[in-house]
């Protein structure tokens, strides 16, 4: 009865429970009295007036909400802004594309196409090198000397 008496007064009981309580009340004067007293208490609680929030209430709430710091995700500190990230991604994509498609590969050169250097005259004729002038040496005083034909 204790757990259902308020539900009975409020009309929150299921139909079966309500019938069960009414059956009990019909034969129990103490419970009938208790139900009537609780109904009276409930009626007294209805007498308290409702107050209205002050006219400044909404303004104060909105002001406090506006003063809230903008919340940033912890990861946001490490992540670039979306536009920057997009631009960087596009740049990377473009670099890869250019590197792959716009740089033509070097043509393969067949071994037989390489000219043989020994066929050039300038390499095969060493005569001009036999008459080279003697090397010039510089002494400690800074004067030039011929190492094989000293003049002093």
């Amino acid at each position: 009865m204790e757990s259902k008496i308020l539900g009975y007064i409020d009309g929150r009981l299921k139909e079966g429970e309500r019938r069960e309580i009414e059956k009990h009340l019909a034969g129990c004067a103490a419970c009938r009295l208790r139900v009537n007293e609780f109904r009276a208490v409930s009626g007294l609680l209805d007498e308290l007036p409702v107050i209205e929030p002050s006219p400044e209430f909404d303004l104060r709430v909105h002001a406090r909400v506006a003063a809230e710091p903008v919340k940033r995700d912890w990861w946001a500190a490490f992540l670039p802004a979306p536009r920057v990230a997009f631009a960087a991604a596009m740049l990377l994509l473009a670099s890869v594309w250019i590197g792959r498609y716009s740089n033509p590969s070097q043509p393969q050169i067949a071994q037989e196409d390489i000219p043989v250097l020994e066929n050039y005259d300038v390499i095969s004729n060493f005569d001009p090198l036999t008459e080279l002038p003697q090397p010039v040496e510089v002494d400690d005083a800074g004067q030039q000397q011929n190492s094989q034909n000293p003049t002093m």
């Binding site: 008496i5 002050s54 709430v61 406090r64």
Partner: protein
């Protein structure tokens, strides 16, 4: 068709500030009244109600509609109220028939009135005021958790399941809590209950 509380809260989560204003408009009065009856101080009640809305706003990004919005809202409010009641002792106005009558905060401005001018039947007015005082004091004297249960059950008309979640107890424990609260009120308000019975 009006959007549900949950839909409004999801819209707030998506960044719609207007939906927050609608929730504020919808629940400002119930919250302020609930908190006022818990802490018995109007200014304190409004401060706490502001704090409730602020916490709702702060939690918008993590909001998941796993329970009714009112359950969540009044759970925040109840926790704040219970902490406030435990931490602070509030001054309470007493009626003194020797002093000029002051209109109670619940009826509007707190100012001294010449009652005879405003109320031709001063005796009837005083009887009504005394009656309201008795009811308020009876609620005030309830243990905090019983008081919260009565207020949520009687004035917010939340169902037992919701109130049980708000007060972190089982439904059967809540029904027992409410029964004990009504028993206390019945005893405290015995003279008025007897009058009601005669009506």
């Amino acid at each position: 068709m009006a959007r549900s509380d949950v839909q409004l809260m999801l819209d707030v989560k998506a960044g719609d500030e207007q939906s927050f204003a609608l929730l504020l408009h919808r629940y400002r009065s119930p919250l302020v009244n609930f908190l006022y009856r818990m802490v018995r101080n109007r200014e304190q009640a409004e401060d706490l109600a502001q704090e409730v809305f602020l916490r709702v706003y702060r939690a918008r990004e993590e909001y998941v509609p796993s329970a009714k919005f009112t359950t969540w809202l009044f759970r925040i409010a109840t926790n704040l109220a219970l902490n406030s009641v435990r931490d602070t002792h509030y001054q309470r106005m007493e009626i003194s028939l020797d002093a000029p009558v002051t209109v109670d905060a619940e009826e509007g401005e707190e100012k001294t009135l010449d009652v005879a001018e405003k109320h031709p039947n001063i005796e009837q007015h005083l009887v009504e005021e005394t009656r309201k005082k008795m009811i308020r004091h009876a609620i005030e004297k309830l243990p905090e958790k019983q008081r919260a249960a009565v207020l949520l059950h009687k004035y917010q008309e939340l169902d037992y399941g919701e109130i049980a979640k708000i007060l972190h107890c089982s439904e059967s424990a809540l029904k027992s809590l409410l029964f004990r609260a009504y028993e206390t009120l019945r005893v405290e308000l015995a003279p008025l209950v007897a009058q009601q019975g005669k009506l």
